[in-house]
């Protein structure tokens, strides 16, 4: 056990942190590539005021997720998974489902070291699979996709809600008593946002649903767990 701890902490984590930081900062630079091509190669640069206007619009719509998502997905994807997930995107619809199924099939616990390693392996496979499919799609796909009927394309829209329902149930089966709390918070807050209760906040405040559901569920689940351990501890004390 101690030896395992050593390898994970003294070798694996430093490696992942070093290479994760290098590749992700390079990723930040690489993401500016197309903008640079437009500027240098074609001499096209939008007015700075237009860039700022659009940035404010997008930041008020998604900005809070820049912080919430890395925190809320961390327990399941681990350190390496965090670097990878946020370099590649498509997190809730692809990376986390892949990580969760991998952990289940391998029979390891989310949040454990083994869980982190398995999640990383699963997510890396999903990265490669996704890029392969997209690459085929972008070169051959326009022809194929344009031949698909609108009905088929509309049907694909049901895959996402179906995925979210299935993934929710997969985690619900791990902690049955927490699932109703999460769902009640999610539905309650969604209705509150739809009713305009949070309309004093900037943008369309759907982030209030994520924020409230994630941290509310963690808080209630932790309180329930501690309560139970305290009771268990008390029972053991009584026996002694």
């Amino acid at each position: 056990m101690d030896k395992n701890k050593d390898i994970f902490e003294s070798d694996y984590l430093p490696y992942v942190n070093r290479w994760g930081k290098i590749t992700n900062w390079l990723g930040v630079l690489a993401s500016f590539g197309p903008a640079l091509v437009l500027l240098v190669g074609f001499d096209i640069m939008p007015p700075v005021s237009a860039i700022i206007t659009a940035l404010i619009a997008i930041a008020s719509a998604v900005g809070i997720n820049w912080v919430i998502e890395p925190i809320s997905y961390f327990p399941i994807v681990g350190v390496a998974g965090t670097y990878m997930a946020f370099l590649t995107g498509n997190i809730s619809n692809l990376r986390v489902p892949s990580a969760a199924v991998s952990q289940k099939v391998a029979g390891v616990e989310p949040g454990s070291r083994e869980g982190a390693i398995i999640a990383t392996l699963g997510m890396a496979v999903s990265v490669i699979a996704n890029i392969t499919i997209l690459t085929l799609g972008v070169f051959a796909g326009t022809a194929i996709l344009s031949k698909l009927s609108p009905e088929v394309l509309a049907a694909f829209n049901f895959l996402l809600p179906s995925l979210f329902g299935a993934i929710f149930v997969q985690f619900a089966l791990m902690k049955l008593n927490i699932a109703p709390i999460a769902l009640a918070l999610g539905i309650g807050l969604t209705l509150a946002v739809n009713a305009g209760i949070f309309s004093f906040l900037p943008g369309r405040p759907t982030y209030m649903v994520t924020l409230g559901a994630v941290f509310g569920t963690i808080a209630i689940a932790t309180a329930l767990y501690k309560n139970k351990s305290v009771n268990k501890g008390a029972a053991i004390d009584e026996k002694n």
Binding site: L13, P75, V127, S162
Partner: protein, 231 residues
Amino acid sequence: MDYLQIANSVPMWLAAGAAIFLVLFQAFIFVKKSYATGKEIGLTEDQMKSAMKSSFITSLGPSVVILTGLLTLLVTVGGPMAWMRLSFIGSVMFELMAASFGTEAVGVKMGIDPMTNVAFANAVWTMILGSIGWIIFATLSASKMDKVQQKVSKGDKGLIKVISVAAMLGSFGSLVSGHLVALNNNTIAALAGGAIMLALSPLADKNNIKWLKEWALAIALFGGMFVAIAF
């Protein structure tokens, strides 16, 4: 020059390709290191290989959804940007939103007005600047969050699991809620996907059916879709 000629030019393909190469490089070195470390800490090759196989199966359904998003992006921002953005940082919904905010800031309504070169460039800038927040915050905090997790849980493994599962239930509870309260066919898809999973997952666990564990999510995903179409 027409903006799509610029958007689909060779330099744009090269810039997109460089970013995608980086993503693949990272996935490759992380797999190599994780596989080796996994063996050292007692994971079997069978565990790791079946995890990777099941992840591949699970990736297929969502990748089809992303592919249809690619089509939408392809016609508005060209092949290279669509290809790069969906392999890199963002997601379909985000990219479409960012692109339309970008073009609107220079007075072009996406899908209604004809796209100009400057509108296209502003869409590109908005997609970039709007998404690097995620990667910057994640990169700065990844190593610290591990320490926070250890500190909060004081190494209590039961508590770590409770927090992990609670965070996931909160995330997916909020994602699924939007579809549940919509009360349309998306609601049916979400309920059906969940119900199929509810039937298959315990079945696979109880009888230890390995192929079913690997395929359960894919079956639930497409099953939910078919139920929603049938209604």
